[in-house]
Symmetry: C2
Subunit: 307 residues, 2 copies
Amino acid sequence: MSGVLYERVALIGLGLIGSSLSHVMRREKLAGRIAGYARSAETRATAKRIGLADEIHESAVAAVKDADLVILATPVGVYGKLAEEIGPHLKEGATVTDVGSVKSAVLRDVAPHLPKHVHFIPGHPVAGTEHSGPESGFAELFTNKWCILTPPPGADAAAVARLEKFWRACGSNVETMTPAHHDMVLAITSHLPHLIAYNIVATAADIEDVTNSEVIKFSAGGFRDFTRIAASDPTMWRDIFLSNKEAVLETLGRFSEDLSVLQRAIRWGDGDTLFNLFTRSREVRRGIIAAGQETTAPDFGRQPGKK
Amino acid sequence: MSGVLYERVALIGLGLIGSSLSHVMRREKLAGRIAGYARSAETRATAKRIGLADEIHESAVAAVKDADLVILATPVGVYGKLAEEIGPHLKEGATVTDVGSVKSAVLRDVAPHLPKHVHFIPGHPVAGTEHSGPESGFAELFTNKWCILTPPPGADAAAVARLEKFWRACGSNVETMTPAHHDMVLAITSHLPHLIAYNIVATAADIEDVTNSEVIKFSAGGFRDFTRIAASDPTMWRDIFLSNKEAVLETLGRFSEDLSVLQRAIRWGDGDTLFNLFTRSREVRRGIIAAGQETTAPDFGRQPGKK
């Protein structure tokens, strides 16, 4: 038990991450009181009904009043506007953080709107499921996953240490890096995989020789695995790609080059090139399992036939 | 219970599919006796130790002797040689089938070597996990999955019906189509997804700005999902790509075109194109879950932190 780390926490956004944070903060008693805000009336109503926060507000400004920790957990595309709104109303000495999948753009969009008397420490818990909305959260989402913090140069050491303690209490491991490095790491480990997944789902849906019903029926051959991450929230992902353009285009260029090599190997019947590349992949998989980021359960442990 | 459908079954190849077939045939008592063959002495020793078949043979010829059903379950690249070997030793009236992921090439490589007095009915159970080898099989692998049969024109209707009954008794749904259509359906639902998965794992491993240790640590952001299917058997997959070249290159061409559209949308900041495409993907995912080919459990139901 860490005990209360922040007397008053404002959750700005109550989707998968926001609601999971609410559950884990309560389980670990990390916050004295949780104030929540969501843009849509529907989300606010659901949040009230399931008791996601001690108070649900109709404006972000009201939610951040007197908050010791403000967590931005909306799609990153609205961060700038939100920061502009809440900036003048932040408590002196408060910590402002976020959970967005991009960090350079967040620093660019948010920092100019914040007063000097708050600690802005961007963050990113690398955890998620394909579900979204206030009812999709669960306290275990962050367990044994990594949270990346990107404190600006000169950030207050005590404020950073407290936020790190907070994430560890949520079950995460914590690592610190620069925003630029974060954006490249996530471009290859998260953004490009999502882009590829969305793309192959579209290609399959459009191919005229194969019906959509066939694509669905025979999806157990591999396609199914891609559809999971391609079911993630479209608004969130639109914002991520627009906000991490350079790193995504860089990794996408490399991916396309590598794919051309494979394409050529198939066209020319070069089995050795294919075999060697396919063998290397197994090593990476073993590394991921050894690092506790995945189980060895075959087929992800799904029960055949169960819905 | 279907009762014994084939008095004597020869399993040529004892990997994931061969061993799973052994387990389900025994559970459902579909075979009077199972004879097994594997090329490697190690696999044969393991198969003996865990009792995968009633007899384990050192040659395919010995295994198929008197068999009423012969199932080829090796990588497809060795089918031609195997068929040449076993052709003269097949029992009159026997059914020969296979479990390979390509069907036109199988027909081309196998049919010429088989005597007129056997029924050759190629098949493909669309089921699998990322594990391989004689110890990876389990009886439930085929439950509620689809098995595609591609009987040649003029195939014996009774022999086809019996094989269909066999697969249904294994838990599968059964569909019949032409080899060419099968190959296009599988190119988009299985072969292209595997190729893309293998490719992105290689791209991530080679990118110099991000260490392999970082790729592994932060894989929960999406990359992890690709590594599962990229951990499949390299020999099997090399053979599949070399044997379904045209259909794979056709789908790969479409994939690359579609990817260029997304790349351009990111470069030009065209959020609407991204949002609309990302929204369509969710529909396909819902279809797959409704068809019982996947569960709705978030994150594939994996327990966070468990190995």
